[in-house]
Subunit: 344 residues, 2 copies
Amino acid sequence: SRSIRLAVIPGDGIGQEVVAQGLKVLGAALPQDVKLETKSYDLGARRWHATGETLTDAELESLKDHDAILLGAIGDPSVPSGVLERGLLLKLRFAFDHYVNLRPSKLFPNTTTPLAGRPDIDFVVVREGTEGPYVGNGGSLRTGTPAEVATEVSLNTAYGVERVVRDAYERANSRPRKKLTLVHKNNVLVHAGHLWKNIFDKVGAEYPDVTTDYLHVDAATIFFVTQPERFDVIVTDNLFGDILTDLAAAVTGGIGLAASGNINPSGAFPSMFEPVHGSAPDIAGTGKADPTATILSVALLLQHLGYADEAARIEAAVAEDLTERDAARTTDEIGDALAARVSG
Amino acid sequence: SRSIRLAVIPGDGIGQEVVAQGLKVLGAALPQDVKLETKSYDLGARRWHATGETLTDAELESLKDHDAILLGAIGDPSVPSGVLERGLLLKLRFAFDHYVNLRPSKLFPNTTTPLAGRPDIDFVVVREGTEGPYVGNGGSLRTGTPAEVATEVSLNTAYGVERVVRDAYERANSRPRKKLTLVHKNNVLVHAGHLWKNIFDKVGAEYPDVTTDYLHVDAATIFFVTQPERFDVIVTDNLFGDILTDLAAAVTGGIGLAASGNINPSGAFPSMFEPVHGSAPDIAGTGKADPTATILSVALLLQHLGYADEAARIEAAVAEDLTERDAARTTDEIGDALAARVSG
Ligand SMILES: CC(C)[C@H](C(=O)O)[C@@H](O)C(=O)O
Ligand SMILES: CC(C)[C@H](C(=O)O)[C@@H](O)C(=O)O
């Protein structure tokens, strides 16, 4: 009989609440014969305040021993900026070599978009997850003095770029429109930009059916609001991907619906699934958090683990639910409604 | 009697056409007693193809000998990416220490915005212009091989950050809403981010009337489309400013209206004014280019040189003209209409 060993990191603020709904829907979606084993990890702001720890080596080892990780949200204003991001969230992405940061954007019916005319939006951003300006390479000299100099180094390797670009071509090739857009800023960041562009062109020769396009990141933001229907699959670096996917979430109904997967396609380490949103401490405990982004992240998790039908059922349930959704429903009620649709 | 010595760099594509209209309106706006002397520089793609030169030392020297520079647009697909950007456009910004890259965004009446509900948008981005990821510090090793490594270094100094942050506080303090938002990504780019945030807080102590706010760049893009009315003045680094101002242009009627000033507030070097848009070779020569962004850049130029009333007249003329604008008007007709309003 089949089984899934799932590590769960609820985290801070609304993280706890949305993860509970994610697990509810996961349970409802899984076939009866699949045994789900979950292990919860107490990580995040509270833990750091209590112990000064962000993620111990023992926890990192223990996390490895799972098929996947479901994460809610990490962060609290009481923790200095960067401590939990670098010490926990990015540490996991780097330690588990999550080089494909997958972020689909779809404008579901009956959702609010700030865009007039409700364009037809259905694209996926393949954001590089282990390189670029996120490597933590940099420092500061004469810190806090008028003579301070601070640097941040973006590191890009042919190895790292080629594998994510290849993944993006594969995804584009398997979609009906077969279109892949590279986003970078190769007219200014010429070294990294030329590396990306050369590899993009080189790998592209192996995918003759995929139509390609290149956009500077600044121009890409324009098209996200004026012509988002032009995009199918986008591949981009870690920082540009961070920026573009928040904008994508905003134009497709908001951060309450944006799912993501931090994927290690080789399977050497567990992949991690999380909503794009943060811990939103201002609404924690009010029942106002929308668990849909987490539930859609559970669908990505199922897809990754080979449960494609179950993943599709969750996505269909979300689409149906949104067309009938009552704005006043609580976190729990949304989770219940989706679980009922998925199992029904 | 007063005079303005203006260097003009029409550049490529529609650059020529829009600059012609900018000069037309400048002539119409200036008081009779002001003598306008212009000197045109043949720089850009054609020049590079013909001579291999982007900007000679002699030209750089000669440009210094002016009160301001008006630039149209630089770039053509026939020139390898980065050559003209690094060799000409950014060279000028760096050589003339244009540390305030000023980009106002205003949603004029009767313009097309992709945003539903036409929010009230009127903010200005103060983009740092001489540091950050734009310094050109980086390189590549084993270029073109599977073992390539490429870096880009973002350089940030207390000196460079403080002067632009101070400029932004001054601007915020002189506006009715007196609100300043710092945009960075200090939870990931911790070294540069902390330098920016510390200086932002320190200088803020000198401006007790200015309300301050901090946003991560990804979150800022969300607010640009969901709540752009929350912004008054934004200060940010060179790359984030590049991205945000294209998005700002998109939500306020498009790149055809977005003006910018590359300003050296000390006056040690001439400041340079240019539309945010590029050379748009696809519409060059068709009469479809909108010269308004260049004309609004001329208003920023006049403002910078102390002709505040004339600058205000141009802005008012644009606002009036837009309410009556016929979509079919040519570049030349728009220039004529604005010149007539300004002089009338
Ligand atoms: C919290 C932060 C480190 C993270 C990122 O920048 O990647 C977040 O914004 C995201 O997009 O997942
Ligand atoms: C052309 C390019 C070098 C430039 C920049 O990135 O600054 C442009 O996008 C701009 O915003 O003025």
